[in-house]
């Protein structure tokens, strides 16, 4: 069975993204009309970029390159080749950031693995910690949104108190 990050037709990829966003909007996780992602052709494939605004003042900045492995048009086969998903809490700071490996053949040497930066934002942690993330089980963007919103609802009372104090 293909994994969730396996190569996929680009048309299906964007359909899955759209369906996930609609479901997250219906669930009150993503604010309506606040999927600000765009996609554009770049030298090495397609670049997805922009901001998604979520419930609770959570914003997620996305930069992601899809490599085109084969074909063109809606049946072109694409796969995520580089990404960063940066989650911030309005008025408080960074919550987490998922990144793909930062190095490549031409630029070796820094975090050559999928990883997650986590910040104890309720304790004013700006340094954070870094943990390795399994390449196969790393979250999709929709899963990151769900994780961030779940964190917000779990800590909503404290977050709003801290926002009110600032």
């Amino acid at each position: 069975m293909a994994g969730k990050h396996a190569p996929i037709e680009v048309g299906k990829y964007f359909e899955i993204h759209a369906a996930a966003m609609r479901a997250l909007e219906r669930a009150g996780r993503v604010l309506r009309g606040c999927d600000g992602l765009t996609v554009e052709p770049v030298a090495r494939g397609l670049l997805m970029s922009g901001r998604i605004q979520c419930a609770g003042g959570i914003t997620i900045d996305v930069a992601k390159r899809l490599a085109i492995l084969d074909g063109e048009g809606e049946s072109a086969i694409v796969q995520t080749a580089a990404y960063t998903y940066h989650v911030m809490v309005d008025g408080l700071g960074n919550l987490l950031r998922y990144c793909g490996p930062h190095d490549d053949e031409a630029h070796p040497g820094h975090k050559p693995f999928h990883h997650k930066h986590s910040y104890d934002v309720l304790r004013d942690d700006v340094e954070g910690t870094v943990a390795t993330v399994d390449a196969e089980t790393r979250p999709t963007l929709a899963e990151v949104i769900t994780e961030a919103c779940a964190w917000y609802y779990e800590h909503a009372a404290e977050i709003e108190v801290r926002r009110g104090a600032k």
Binding site: G36, L37, M48, E74
Partner: protein
């Protein structure tokens, strides 16, 4: 450039045309290059200097993570 929110609203024929344009269109990279230049100006360093600092652990922020993806996108 295509807004993914718009893609969701497109008719099938429009989607097909948009995807052909995306996957066969000639990328000019101007917008991405401009964003890279903005990051270089904001941090007052070249992309290579940023990479060196990231490699040695002296710099590792959301901006640099984005910066690296943009460089990767342009094959720099």
């Amino acid at each position: 450039m295509l807004a993914l929110a718009d893609f969701a609203e497109m008719a099938p024929e429009e989607r097909r045309a948009a995807l052909v344009e995306l996957t066969t269109g000639r990328p000019n990279g101007v917008r991405v290059a401009a964003e890279i230049r903005q990051l270089e100006q904001r941090y007052e360093m070249t992309s290579e200097q940023m990479r060196a600092k990231v490699r040695t652990g002296k710099l590792d922020t959301a901006d640099t993570a984005r910066w690296l993806v943009l460089l990767d996108a342009l094959g720099r």
